[in-house]
């Protein structure tokens, strides 16, 4: 397993180099002018030139790239102009926020989607199958910002069940001491149930919104791969051998159907992590997606580069994890 992991990591190095080069070039060809933007409304030409020099934007591209790589080697991702903070620090605080939200959403989605998909596959054409179809169609066709706003309107504004959508914690609550930067975990570690419940109530609506969106691909894939598995010969053999239904479905069919589900889960996770900007905006979630989009609009290079790089590293790590998980689920995958 270790050898697989190492060889996988080895193949990731060229992709990382590619990502570094491409993000650098992409941010430089963006049409915006960072210096003019940050010089403020009544900036003179000299003021703009001064800022340009300060940011090193008056240098040639190779020189700028050299500096960028040198900084990167020292673990310095630069400083965001938009928030005035080091990018590494911002990503380190915002990534856990996004990850906590995405993982919660995904967990909810998986808990609902997998049983739904299995049942839909077992009873094709029944009401469960139709329910599955309706839910998945609704999940993909309703944009998240719409479901998010709708959820806020109904559960917060009209019913008052949910707390005010002001981010990870209520304004008057105090954050637990940071260990993992996952508030739910940190508050439990600190034994602070009050903060845990506060954080849980804050995360509930955005996580549900995300779950509704993530539900669709998961349920569809579970259903499809379950159908394929149930149709295959080893299941017929198992049935013919008189194994009980529970063992056939869960031990044989589901285990084989899990591979595509896990792949989809990984893809949905990495996609949601960076792409749930709109949910983050609606719920004022201090996540990484909204951070990157804000930076992109302002042509703020450093956070954009830092974001893309972080996402690339995450994708690689995630793919590796999924590959390793394959080996556990399906012994045949180990040999590949």
């Amino acid at each position: 397993m270790l050898r697989v992991a190492l060889s996988r990591l080895g193949t990731a190095v060229p992709s990382l180099i590619g990502v570094v080069v491409v993000t650098f070039l992409l941010t430089r060809v963006l049409p915006g002018d960072t210096a003019t933007y940050f010089a403020g409304p009544v900036a003179s030409a000299e003021a703009i030139a001064q800022i340009r020099a300060q940011l090193g934007l008056d240098q040639t591209l190779p020189v700028q790239f050299g500096r960028y790589v040198a900084d990167l080697a020292r673990g310095d991702l630069g400083t965001s102009l938009g928030t005035g903070q080091p990018v590494l620090h911002e990503i380190a605080t915002r990534l856990p926020a996004s990850a906590e939200l995405t993982l919660s959403g995904l967990l909810l989605a998986a808990l609902a989607a997998v049983p739904l998909g299995i049942l839909a596959a077992l009873r094709q054409g029944s009401w469960v199958d139709h329910l599955c179809r309706v839910v998945t169609t609704a999940g993909v066709s309703l944009p998240v910002f719409f479901t998010g706003l709708l959820a806020v309107y109904v559960f917060y504004f009209l019913l008052g069940w949910a707390p005010s959508p002001v981010g990870r914690l209520d304004a008057f609550a105090t954050a637990p001491p940071a260990v993992t930067n996952f508030l739910l975990i940190d508050s439990l570690l600190a034994g602070d149930t009050e903060t845990f419940l506060a954080a849980l109530s804050q995360i509930a609506l955005p996580a549900l919104t995300l779950a509704l969106f993530a539900l669709a691909p998961l349920a569809r894939i579970t259903r499809a791969s379950m159908l394929a598995a149930l149709d295959s010969e080893f299941i017929r053999t198992a049935r013919a051998s008189g194994l009980n239904r529970r063992t056939i479905v869960l031990t044989y069919a589901f285990r084989n159907a899990m591979l595509p589900v896990v792949t989809t889960l990984g893809m949905v996770f990495s996609f949601l992590l960076g792409a749930n900007v709109l949910v983050e905006k609606v719920f004022a979630w201090p996540g990484i997606g909204s951070y990157a989009v804000e930076a992109l609009i302002a042509s703020d290079f450093a956070p954009v580069q830092g974001f893309v790089l972080t996402m690339a590293v995450l994708y690689i790590a995630l793919n590796l994890a999924i590959d390793l998980l394959y080996g556990l689920i399906d012994p045949r995958a180990k040999e590949g």
Partner: protein
């Protein structure tokens, strides 16, 4: 006398630690804590620093003191708070001041105030801070220069509590410019000590407050929240009634509106005009709208290149704009009309221009100037799209029937200023606001031949420049009034930019919130706000 002051302040310094109410006081209650929601918060704690965002003005306002502030003037309506009179100054850090008989300098007497560090505020701190403002570059220096505050030699620390500003020229903007949010006073010793070799401690002051203001920053989490706590030892004004302020960044305007309507926040900043209109009509919460001094939404027409070099076409557009429709559909009534003036120009600014929607006249002018019609493009900033986009669509629709075909071009924030700097855009929707509320200041930026970025029309006219310069440095009121009426009249006739509306600066707050104070920088002033 000087020695005595020195002794007095030295003994006060010794006594300070005992005097300062420390942890003994109970923690601020919810009634003493204000919760404010805004689209985005400060990106730095140093308003003089390069690239500081609009909310950083609020940090300068609440955490630092200036020598002077503007006189507060009550707004019409019960409990609506106050605006300001920029021509009348009140003491802040300076307890008194005297302009020299030759009118070329002003001497300030500092009050006995202390920085958050406990050190007494001294004249050398004022000098360091103003030196910094004129030397640091970027917006701070530009703003200082606007009031003829240009070089460190102008600032003289005479003794611990006496400070003098020498003028480079007689400029009526010099003293008022000391009240904006740029020339605030740092604890220079603390800043230099932590500056790590940088004489202006730029990096350190970005994340730390070294001031004497009414509030300290307890927590600064860019993109999430900023928490302020009261400085109980504040000397430059009456002690604020709020002890703690939490300013949360809530990007979605719908969420900000829901929060104020549900009563879960005390103040909500920066909603779209439609929401302010709805909230004002529903009357559950208080909406205070102040016409932003010296600010206008306008359509600029390029007078140097493209079709609008012909003044008749510019006038045609001014006669064709659907002013009323724009006011209703884009600003939702949250503005002051800038069209349909009867009678000649006055000295007021902003003031309506004599145009109104008159398609027959517009068509006639187009027929004379360009019988074949014109095709052109209209630029606007995507960042202000909520207002500018419907405005642009209405302009396009209104101009098509008179033979001016307009393509809309929505430019993302980072590119917008770059486009303006190119000076080639034929037609632009923009909003300009000047902190110093004088018409000649507005015209200096928007109409003067020095062609600043805000002279979007690239308007060049020596007669206009002469009138603007004459007003700026006019010695007496009559010359001033004559010059102002002169350039406004010229602008009405030449219309390189067509004013549409003076925007209202709206803030929604719970009915229990009092003491709202509007300043040129438009950021909330926690020092005067009350709750309950």
């Amino acid at each position: 006398m000087r020695r005595r002051t020195l002794i007095a302040s030295a003994s006060a310094a010794l006594a300070a630690p005992a005097l300062r109410p420390a942890a003994a006081q109970p923690a601020p209650t919810r009634a003493e804590t204000l919760l404010l929601v805004q689209e985005y918060g400060p990106n730095s704690l140093d308003m003089q620093g390069i690239g500081s965002s609009q909310p950083v003005n609020g940090v300068a306002l609440n955490c630092y003191d200036r020598l002077v502030r503007y006189k507060r003037v009550a707004l019409p309506g019960e409990g609506n708070g106050s605006t300001f009179d920029i021509t009348s100054l009140e003491p802040e850090l300076a307890e008194s001041w005297q302009e020299a008989s030759d009118g070329m300098s002003c001497t300030f007497r500092l009050r006995e105030a202390r920085f958050h560090s406990g050190r007494p505020v001294a004249a050398k701190d004022v000098k360091w801070s103003l030196d910094r403002a004129v030397s640091i570059g970027g917006f701070a220096t530009t703003q200082m220069n606007a009031g003829s505050l240009e070089k460190p030699e102008q600032f003289v620390a005479l003794d611990d509590r006496t400070f003098r500003v020498d003028y480079v020229r007689k400029d009526k903007l010099t003293l008022p410019n000391l009240g904006v949010t740029i020339p605030f006073v740092f604890d220079s010793e603390l800043a230099i000590r932590n500056g790590g070799g940088d004489p202006w401690a730029k990096e350190w002051l970005k994340n730390n407050v070294a001031g004497s203001g009414a509030f300290r920053v307890e927590a600064f989490r860019p993109g999430t929240e900023t928490i302020y706590v009261r400085n109980d030892d504040w000397k430059s004004g009456p002690l604020p009634s709020l002890r703690r302020v939490i300013a949360r960044d809530i990007p979605s305007p719908s969420t900000r509106r829901a929060l104020i309507e549900r009563g879960d926040t005390d103040i909500s900043y920066g909603l779209p005009p439609k929401d302010f209109k709805d909230l004002a009509e529903a009357r559950r919460v208080k909406v205070v709208g102040v016409p932003v001094p010296n600010a206008i939404w306008y359509v600029a027409l390029n007078a140097t290149t493209g079709p609008f070099t012909d003044v008749r076409l510019r006038q045609a557009v001014a006669w064709a704009l659907p002013y009323e429709a724009i006011m209703q559909a884009s600003l939702f009534g949250r503005g002051v009309p800038m069209w349909g003036a009867l009678g000649g120009p006055t000295t007021a600014w902003p003031q309506p221009f004599p145009y109104s929607t008159n398609l027959a006249r517009a068509r006639e002018l187009v027929q004379q100037a360009a019988p074949g019609g014109v095709t052109t493009s209209l630029l606007f900033d995507a960042g202000s799209g909520t207002i500018a986009e419907p405005m642009a669509v209405l302009v396009k629709e209104a101009l098509a029937p008179i033979g001016i075909n307009v393509e809309l071009s929505k430019i993302p924030g980072a590119n917008f200023r770059g486009e303006l700097n190119k000076k080639t855009a034929p037609m632009v929707i923009n909003r300009f606001g000047g902190w110093l509320d004088w018409p000649d200041y507005f015209f200096f930026w928007n109409y003067h031949g020095n062609n600043s970025i805000f002279n979007i029309a690239s308007y060049q006219n020596p007669a206009m420049d002469r009138l603007i310069d004459a007003a700026r440095f006019a010695a007496d009121a009559d010359t001033y009034a004559g010059a102002v009426k002169g350039f406004i009249g010229l602008a009405e006739q030449e219309v390189p930019m067509i004013p549409i509306a003076q925007p209202l600066h709206d803030v929604a707050m719970q009915r229990s919130i009092g003491g709202y104070q509007f300043w040129p920088c438009r950021e909330p002033d926690f020092r005067f706000l009350t709750k309950g």
